[in-house]
């Protein structure tokens, strides 16, 4: 079992229930730490891993120290993010804008220590007619700037309007500043879709799912979380199933329990393949990335095309396919074909620009 996708399985073993207040001791060798640490560092899971690995009583070797350094860095970054988030919310309150924070601090705060869950930007969802007001409220130019990612809509499969999410949202105090977060139900649905649309490449995102599922108390409204088309509810159930099967998330008593135990085989394999690569091309919306530069370099060109070939998860969600056990290749081809017009358009622009 350990031979297939060994590095990815090792990541899963290291991260197993690492989000809990008291993680279980981990049995791991120094050699294994050496093997897995570059992947942990590359995927933002170094801090969670370090928390478990330190229980293994290993000598302080370079990879071990790298993981600890990453944790320290993330912990300081968390302090900055909190200061920035407070300032942002003071500004938007003054401008009478009501954004909702997704991911980022909204998830980091659930971990035993916010430094365990790094994030780079602050995702805010606002009403479309408030977008400009939000931008105006934030400092720009030479003044201190924030890495805010503002959104006016999310994936169609989210199937919730801003007003609907706002009605169910709640305020959480961040050092005295009220920050608006989606309900746990809406947030869990969102992070599951986010994981899938990015091809499942970050194990950290699956830890988020596991943590949210385990944090769900008796008040958690599963109907609200899963409400919408049956197919999309199944996507959510499968993502929770991945958190269960790969990371040991406890799902007993949840409505997704049965589905979580019977995932299509391609789904788990796709996640493990992605994890062992250590990176994702989450942002490549078309095939044009660096294309003109690579046009006359066959090896680079082949690599570029490989990078832009959707993995089975991304292809399935892009093509709005069911997570059944049918082969994924047709959806992968479909996804490439559907992106061809945009690719051609972009390619012409890039080539013209290059000349």
């Amino acid at each position: 079992m350990m031979n297939n996708h060994f590095p990815a399985r090792l990541i899963a073993r290291v991260l197993e229930r690492s989000w809990r207040p008291v993680p279980e001791p981990l049995s791991i060798s120094a050699e294994e730490v050496h093997q897995v640490s570059p992947l942990l560092l590359a995927t933002g899971t170094a801090a969670l891993a370090w928390r478990r690995i330190q229980s293994a009583d290993l000598p302080t070797t370079r990879p071990f120290a790298d993981l600890e350094d990453a944790y320290h860095q993330h912990a300081i970054e968390a302090a900055f993010h909190e200061i920035n988030t407070q300032d942002i919310f003071k500004r938007v309150h003054a401008a009478r804008v009501e954004p909702i924070v997704f991911k980022g601090w909204g998830l980091a705060r659930l971990y035993p220590d916010a430094g365990l869950r790094p994030y780079g930007d602050i995702d805010l969802w606002v009403r479309p007619d408030h977008l400009q007001k939000l931008r105006d409220a934030l400092p720009a130019g030479s003044e201190r700037a924030y890495c805010v990612d503002s959104h006016v809509s999310f994936y169609p499969q989210y199937e919730r309007s801003f007003e609907d999410v706002l009605r169910n949202s709640h305020l959480v105090s961040l050092n005295g500043v009220q920050v608006r977060l989606p309900s746990d139900e809406d947030h869990l649905r969102f992070i599951c879709l986010h994981f899938l649309f990015h091809g499942g490449w970050r194990p950290l995102w699956l830890c988020d799912v596991a943590l949210m599922v385990e944090s769900a108390n008796s008040q958690f409204d599963w109907d609200r979380c899963l409400r919408g088309r049956h197919k999309h509810a199944d996507w959510i159930a499968c993502t929770i199933g991945l958190a269960h099967q790969l990371l040991g998330a406890e799902i007993s008593g949840t409505p997704v329990e049965k589905r979580a135990r019977t995932l299509p085989r391609w789904l788990t394999t796709a996640v493990l393949r992605q994890w062992e690569q250590g990176t994702g091309m989450s942002f490549a919306d078309d095939l044009s990335f660096s294309f003109p530069r690579r046009l006359f370099k066959p090896a680079a060109l082949a690599r570029a095309l490989r990078e832009h070939w959707r993995n089975p998860i991304q292809a399935s969600v892009e093509m709005n396919a069911s997570f059944d056990s049918s082969p994924r290749s047709m959806w992968q081809i479909g996804s490439a074909v559907s992106r061809l017009p945009a690719f051609a358009e972009q390619l012409v622009r890039d080539v013209l620009k290059a000349h």
Partner: protein, 176 residues
Amino acid sequence: MTPSKQRFLPKARKADLVTRRIPRELLVYDLRRHKAFCLNDTAARIWRRCDGKRTVAELTAELESDLQTPIDEQIVWLALSQLETSHLLQQPSGVSFPRRFSRRALMRAGLATAIALPIVTMIAAPTAQAAGSGVPSALCPTLAPPCPNGPCLNNNNVATNKNCVFSPNKAVCKCK
């Protein structure tokens, strides 16, 4: 002990620092120098009490009471010397810290058995990409450190092969 040392009232620097407590350690980021430090529990206990009113003898007595164990004053001096070197005390202290306050000297003297010696270490910036989503290339140079360390995005929001990282020369974030 010289008279100047007896009168020394160490005062922790507060301005332009961001602190974060984590289990058994305190992290301090210096916004002026863009350097981060990790204080172990002993160093953090001493630093927190440096209010410019307590003498070293008083700091030692309080640490003894805190940790319920006899503590040599030299341990506090060791912490202060490291805090001063890291610019975490208000400048200038005007006190010279002799070599006998080095960690090795204290260990040789057998003073390190009861408690962990105070340690202030500079944190190395990790090489990993910490950010989750990437940073528009135009935005990266406008960000205040610490930099996100995430991929820089081009105009189409596509990840480039550069990361938005701290540039020590100009103390700013830069795509490189």
